[in-house]
């Protein structure tokens, strides 16, 4: 076996740089996703440093990153949470879908993109980043707030809608007919419902099989990852997208099996998801970014407002007051990982689309958390929250210095 010095070196430097960027982002209580994206843009063709040796690895890793992102998302899903969300917030989910997919679709149409491009852009503006937002709500100490269940319910339903949407996008992107697309969606929804049924009635048996002979972390990792990759490959083969396959595996696992699987998979997910964001950045040529910036900015402002409206509506259904509605709306603004998953799915062969979405996610993944931090909070309370944030971060890092508040 021959070890490529160039590969190790390039990869090592990249990961070290990502870790620095990630630490920087956390310091300002921001998501590292936009910074990973920026790192990808800075590297590669047309960037400051080409990475010829690490390129193929990043490309392969990106695919695994998508699979792991969706697998862990599925592992976090539980049937009762989904049914409760559905019962209380189906109208909110509908409002959210219509208000937020429309701006993306309209801009895609105005930019003269093809069907796959329009569909992808609609998905990009629709789906909020549950990863960024869940963390944000916790960091801002908002888990106790009255509007928070509404926000989380909308996120759960969005994630579920993605399971229907991804196969549609996959088929349309592959140039399939609408009938094939419909078939793909039905197949995916059927598989998701089957996974729900398995999880609900036989989840414990499945868990027992998975945890048979008390596997150590290594065994469990190999088992879950092996099964997931096989199912993802099968899903890809029948055109319902590997991502949906992974999501289904995640859904089917519940209870202790899901908890343990999440524990062993999370570090791996973090690594490969970072590689995926990097790959998206790498595939976009930096000089294409500037021309699309005005459009991205406009789309960002419009879709920020439509998300606020959707969150406002959802929070009002819970009987929350005006300030809480504003908090709910602004919390939902951030888009991130799943918007990028969609763009990864259609491929960035459409140069303009890749650049537009990268710029859009860069803007909105940074702006969303910043806006919600200052929206609908009493000034005294904000100071309090900042102080709390400080002590917690200090305790974690073993050093007493202030973060942004």
């Amino acid at each position: 076996m021959k070890v490529s010095v160039a590969l190790l070196l390039e990869l090592g430097v990249i990961l070290a740089a990502l870790s620095l960027l990630g630490a920087l982002a956390r310091r300002f209580a921001l998501s590292p996703i936009p910074l990973y994206l920026l790192a990808g843009l800075a590297l590669g063709e047309g960037g400051i440093a080409p990475v010829p040796a690490a390129g193929p690895f990043v490309e392969t890793g990106a695919g695994i990153g998508v699979v792991l992102l969706l697998l862990v998302l599925g592992l976090e899903f539980t049937v009762p949470e989904f049914t409760v969300s559905l019962r209380r917030h189906l109208p909110s989910a509908a409002v959210d879908l219509v208000l937020n997919a429309a701006p993306g679709a309209v801009v895609g149409w105005l930019l003269d993109l093809d069907a796959a491009g329009i569909l992808a852009l609609a998905g990009v503006t629709y789906i909020s980043s549950s990863g960024i937002i869940a963390r944000l709500l916790s960091d801002l100490g908002r888990l106790g707030n009255r509007e928070t269940p509404a926000v989380l319910s909308v996120l759960v339903l969005e994630d579920f809608a993605m399971a229907a949407y991804l196969p549609l996008l996959a088929v349309v992107a592959a140039g399939g007919t609408w009938r094939q697309a419909l078939l793909g969606v039905l197949l995916a929804l059927g598989a998701v419902l089957a996974a729900f049924a398995v999880s609900y009635w036989w989840g414990h048996h499945l868990g027992r099989v998975l945890l048979r002979l008390r596997p150590d972390a290594e065994q469990l990792l190999l088992r879950v990852l092996g099964v997931t990759l096989i199912v993802a490959a099968l899903a890809e083969a029948v055109h319902i997208s590997a991502a949906v396959g992974a999501f289904i595996v995640g859904l089917a696992l519940t209870g202790e099996a899901a908890d343990r699987a999440r524990q062993v998979l999370s570090p791996l997910r973090d690594l490969f998801a970072a590689v995926f964001f990097l790959a998206i950045g790498l595939s976009v040529r930096p000089e294409t970014l500037l021309p699309v910036l005005p459009v991205a900015l406009l789309l960002g402002v419009v879709t920020a407002l439509t998300k606020v409206a959707a969150g406002w509506y959802a929070a009002r259904r819970e009987g929350v007051g005006r300030r809480g509605r504003l908090r709910a709306g602004t919390a939902l603004i951030a888009r991130g990982e799943f918007s990028l998953v969609m763009i990864g799915l259609v491929g960035v062969r459409q140069d303009r689309l890749g650049a537009l979405v990268s710029a859009y996610v860069l803007l909105i993944a940074v702006a969303g958390p910043v806006v919600t931090r200052f929206a609908g909070t009493r000034p005294a309370l904000r100071a309090e929250a900042a102080r709390k944030g400080d002590t917690r971060v200090a305790a974690e890092q073993g050093q007493g210095s202030g973060t942004a508040g």
Binding site: R146, P149, G321, K388
Partner: protein, 161 residues
Amino acid sequence: MDVNEVLLPGVGMRYEFVNHEGDRMGVVARRSGDFELMVYESVDPDEARLVFRLTGEEADALAEILGAPRIAERFADLAKEVPGLSAGQVEVRAGGPFVDRPLGETRARTRTGASIVAVVRGGEVIASPGPGQVLSAGDVLVVIGTHDGIAAVEQIIQADR
């Protein structure tokens, strides 16, 4: 006291209640095992003020200070590992047949198959009580067995004298 449970999808569960002084409080039990405690103030009833965060371990310590109910919950967790087995609590009521009588006299295990694995008395826990353990009014027995067995123990302990 009414405790209102609110599901937080993807995060965990929130419990809300109002104490005797009218303060509204919330406890968020996160899936990760951490807890957050908060109070709601009157300026904006929708907004919680985070009071403190606890790790699972710290929450255990706090619960032990506050009382023993969590112990029964832990037995419940334990019982979940075995299909068909569950844990229950049976209160020894004042005026019941076994107040100030030794535990052995109930012949609970012989008659129901369910075991009394602990007696919670005030803040104290008597683990694995012997047949000579004398019961007193207000004790809570932690019982492990089948559903029917636990119900039968309840009938024995709380029967009219």
